[in-house]
């Protein structure tokens, strides 16, 4: 064979010319987050919240149920799954907190660190636009959000459909999947705007994470102090209602039991005189928006579309902050 | 050093500095006379450490350094006679340039009025556009910041000036102005030690160099002195003339001439171990032999070649 010339070699291979590079940017951002504790936290978020009881039971009993081959039988895990579409709405509302946490974990440093190292100069020297960059980062933050909220819903929905899928059941639950997808989209928009917007203003990942946590905690704290949720005042009722679900024998009984649980516990409602301050907590406003998507009534302290304006406005504003920061980077000094 | 010569401005004896197992300076000895001296060397050679020792920022692990005859460590009186322009960019962003330089002058002991006038004079000498004097330093370009750094180093009319890459960020006009400033300062009596990687500009500013490599001082003196000591590498002399082969034949007769080649039409390249004699021979031939010489030069009698020979062997 001829000796290989070790100088510069031209490139004669294929080149993709069309399309946006946002996906590549998102993949790159996600790949850097494959740290073990991020994955661990992801799994943890699936296990906690109101999913805890049902998911753990599902994991514990599913194998034995398969071996006994008794779908619709009295295996304990079947009875544990609630039969009311409200279950899915509530689950997503609880997971909202985890969505923000996971989104912050993945995304807090993205813009801050990039600004520190001048990465935008690198990106814009390639055939990549500032819009590609922002979309790619938003996509990266949206992935854990969707994994934490929409994915468990989809899995549990599929499990429930598999074992209890009657036509009436599908009729009741027709709205669940589309609503879950829409809520996932809304959450992605809000969390990526919030996290990336704060990241754009911070100088380092550490400050961004601290700022995000600080903002969340303070907003949540103010809301909890001014307008404590009803959840806190009815723990005993909640436990009794859960026991009733586990004891129920038929799907109709389970459905009624879950309705009672839903009525007893309403984290969005508040007995306080300043109940409307509940909307200050981002999770609460998002959960209220989720209720609208699922077609459920929203408590009276969330009048009209105020929570939508809050959520969309905050996200749009923070995206604006991000965009301004990205635009301000000079590529050639 | 013979009697009657000027006392050295900087003196270093057995200077060593290490950081754990890493040695930054290894038994360095030199004496720098008044004038401009350049400190050159590859990255990691120890130049920054040497400057830090000389400015009193760090202490040597062994040996000693003397600036104007005194130990620079913990010596505020000496610090007032010394100016330092480091490479790091550390200016007070919120101040405007004259206030910043004036503040530093006050720290060195000048009164408010004197500090202000010195600051403005220094900024003018460094070429900072007076229109920019009212703006905060945070808005300055790289070149403007460099000028501020230089101004604060010279505003107190130091006797000794240390500069680390003083021309970074400046455009060619600025570079030339700064070189002229350094020359003017040297003529005015300031002794200057400049560290720089741009060897061509170093050559245009001064003849005396200190070459550091791997924490050791490889060479000290003028470029031509050092070159003549490098006898491992015969000197190359190029002559562009009309009858190179004829001249080559004559030159070959000279003692010390290793080889003479005619690589292309009209060009002669001689390699010799006795450059002085060979040059004289060429001058005689050119003057008396009727050759039409268009150029006489030595491609390797310059700092870059010396640097390469010393660092790469």
């Amino acid at each position: 064979m001829p000796i290989l010339e070790q100088g510069y070699e031209p490139y004669r291979g294929p080149v993709r010319t069309g399309g946006s590079r946002a996906l590549s940017i998102a993949v790159n951002a996600l790949r850097r987050n494959r740290r073990w504790w991020v994955i661990a936290l992801l799994l943890l978020s699936w296990l906690f919240g109101s999913v805890k009881e049902y998911f753990m039971v599902f994991v514990c009993y599913a194998p034995s149920a398969f071996f006994r081959q008794a779908p619709g039988g009295d295996a304990a895990w079947l009875t544990a799954l609630a039969n009311h579409p409200n279950f899915y709405s509530d689950m997503m509302a609880t997971q909202t907190f985890w969505a923000i946490v996971m989104g912050a974990l993945v995304g807090a440093g993205e813009i801050a660190e990039d600004l520190r190292t001048g990465a935008l100069v690198f990106y814009l020297g390639r055939p990549v636009t500032r819009l590609d960059y922002v979309l790619g980062k938003a996509l990266a933050v949206s992935v854990p959000v969707v994994l934490v909220t929409v994915l468990p819903v989809a899995v549990l929905f599929a499990a429930q459909a598999l074992f209890e899928g009657t036509w009436t059941w599908f009729g009741d639950h027709a709205r669940v999947l589309p609503a879950a997808a829409a809520y996932g989209l809304l959450l992605s928009f809000f969390v990526s705007g919030f996290v990336l917007g704060v990241s754009a203003v911070a100088r380092r990942r550490r400050w961004a994470t601290v700022s995000i946590v600080a903002v969340l905690l303070s907003l949540g704290l103010v809301a909890a102090v001014l307008a404590p949720s009803r959840e806190w005042t009815s723990h005993r009722e909640q436990r009794e209602a859960r026991d009733r679900i586990l004891d129920a024998k038929t799907p109709e009984e389970r459905k009624a039991a879950y309705q009672r649980l839903s009525d007893a516990v309403d984290p969005l409602g508040s007995p306080s005189a300043r109940a409307e301050w509940r909307a200050l907590s981002p999770s609460a406003s998002l959960a209220a928006a989720g209720r609208d998507l699922f077609g459920r009534p929203v408590p009276s302290n969330f009048p009209g579309i105020r929570h939508w304006i809050l959520v969309l406005g905050a996200a749009a504003g923070l995206f604006g902050v991000l965009w301004r920061r990205v635009r301000a980077v000079e590529i050639v000094a | 050093m013979t009697a009657g010569e000027e006392a050295p401005v900087l003196e270093v004896r057995g200077l060593s500095r290490w950081y754990g197992p890493v040695i930054a300076l290894n038994a360095v000895n030199f004496a720098v006379r008044p004038g401009i001296t350049a400190l050159v060397g590859p990255n990691g050679a120890g130049k920054s450490t040497l400057l830090q020792v000389l400015t009193g920022e760090i202490r040597p692990s062994q040996g000693r350094a003397l600036v104007l005859g005194e130990d620079p460590w913990n010596n505020p009186a000496l610090a007032r006679r010394v100016g330092n322009c480091p490479q790091q960019d550390a200016l007070y962003e919120d101040m405007d340039a004259p206030s910043f330089v004036a503040y530093l002058m006050r720290l060195r002991g000048f009164g408010a009025a004197a500090a202000r006038s010195r600051a403005e004079a220094a900024l003018a000498a460094a070429g900072l556009d007076p229109a920019a004097w009212g703006r905060r330093v945070a808005g300055y370009s790289k070149g403007m910041r460099q000028r501020v750094r230089i101004a604060q180093a010279v505003a107190h009319s130091p006797e000794v000036l240390f500069l680390d890459e003083p021309l970074t960020g400046l455009d060619p006009v600025g570079r030339r102005e700064m070189r002229n400033l350094l020359r003017a300062l040297a003529e005015g009596g300031t002794s200057i030690l400049v560290s720089s990687h741009v060897l061509h500009e170093v050559e245009g500013t001064t003849d005396r160099i200190l070459l550091l490599h791997r924490a050791r001082l490889l060479a000290e003196g003028t470029v031509s002195e050092i070159r003549s000591l490098l006898d491992r590498h015969p000197h190359s002399i190029e002559v562009a003339c009309d009858r190179p082969r004829e001249m080559a034949a004559h030159l070959m007769a000279g003692a010390g001439v290793e080889s003479v080649a005619v690589p292309e039409e009209g060009l002669l390249v001689a390699r010799t171990r006795t450059p002085q004699e060979t040059y004289a021979h060429i001058v005689r031939l050119a003057a008396e032999g009727g050759y039409a010489v268009t150029r006489l030069s030595s491609p390797d009698d310059n700092l870059e070649a010396v640097f390469r020979y010393l660092v790469h062997g």
Binding site: G13, T117, T129, V332 | S141, S224, V283
Partner: protein
């Protein structure tokens, strides 16, 4: 590459920022080979680069870069252009090779090809084992090589290099300049080199464009810019200059001292003969005689400030 449409052409390109005119009716065609783009700070170099890269729209005028109009298709303009920025810029958390490979992917290369290409290019710019470490750990010179590799990974036909030798030690500078020269001569790349280190530009570029106050103040081949003045020579040597100066004046020449050399003017058309004769007569240790060629720096300073001479 044959003749035909020039690789980069600008026609009356103007760009204003409020009241400031950064580019004022610039018209030029970029010749092949290595071109030096010079200018004082604020002359419009960075604005011109941004416009060529499609990152900024011109207020007036039109331009074409490698057959693409950056106004209409800014992303397309950057596809076949390699840009090496002056500032330290890298994606945090990536190793050297990952970074170059990512750059390739962003330019449209398939993932596996981008990784292969990254390794090849890193070999070319001289990065060895260190490519597997994170860029955070690199020295300035190594980071600069990575930026050059990123500019080359997609095999562009046109390269914009912004101060590529900034902060490098003499060896590093030699290597980078060698690479640039190699790319321009042996591999047919068009290279636009922006640098304040005019000596580097002299050694690497064949053509020079000098911008000043938003306009092309001078352009030409290196030989044209560095015009040699007939009957003037720069003379250096060792020892006292007075005897030589006397001998020169006696021979009808003029002698003026400049930092580093003696500027000698000889009677018209006589060449260097008088100089050598004067040196012989005065026993001066003559070391070099060269035609008084304006260095690029002289030409630059003259064009910008209006005073010639060193």
């Amino acid at each position: 590459m044959g003749t035909g449409e020039p690789v980069v052409s600008l026609r009356e390109v103007t760009r204003t920022f409020g009241r400031v005119t950064a580019l004022d009716g610039v018209t030029l065609d970029l010749p092949p080979g290595a071109v030096g783009l010079l200018g004082p700070n604020g002359a419009g170099k960075s604005t011109m680069l941004k416009v060529l890269l499609g990152l900024l729209l011109p207020t007036k005028g039109s331009l074409r870069v490698l057959g693409v109009d950056p106004v209409a298709d800014p992303v397309g303009a950057r596809r076949r252009v390699g840009y090496m920025p002056e500032v330290d810029s890298y994606v945090p958390g990536l190793t050297g090779v990952e970074s170059v490979s990512f750059a390739g992917v962003l330019s449209g290369l398939p993932r596996a090809a981008a990784m292969q290409r990254a390794h090849t290019v890193l070999n070319y710019v001289g990065l060895e084992e260190i490519r597997y470490r994170k860029i955070e750990e690199y020295s300035t010179g190594t980071r600069q090589r990575v930026r050059l590799a990123q500019a080359l990974v997609h095999d562009p036909d046109l390269l914009f290099l912004d101060e590529p030798t900034n902060g490098l030690d003499p060896d590093g500078r030699e290597e980078i300049l060698g690479v640039i020269r190699d790319l321009a001569t042996r591999h047919g790349k068009r290279v636009v080199l922006c640098s304040h280190l005019l000596r580097d530009v002299e050694r690497t570029c064949d053509f020079v464009i000098l911008l000043y106050q938003g306009r092309v103040a001078r352009q030409g081949t290196m030989a044209e810019i560095r015009t040699a003045r007939k009957d003037w020579y720069r003379v250096t040597g060792r020892g006292p200059l007075e005897p030589l100066e006397e001998a020169l004046r006696a021979a009808g020449c003029t002698a003026a001292r400049h930092p580093g050399f003696l500027l000698v003017g000889v009677p018209e058309g006589t060449g260097t003969a008088s100089v050598f004769r004067a040196a012989l007569r005065s026993a001066f240790d003559l070391r070099s005689v060269a035609p008084d060629e304006a260095s690029l720096e002289d030409a630059f300073v003259e064009a910008v400030t209006g005073d010639g001479g060193p």
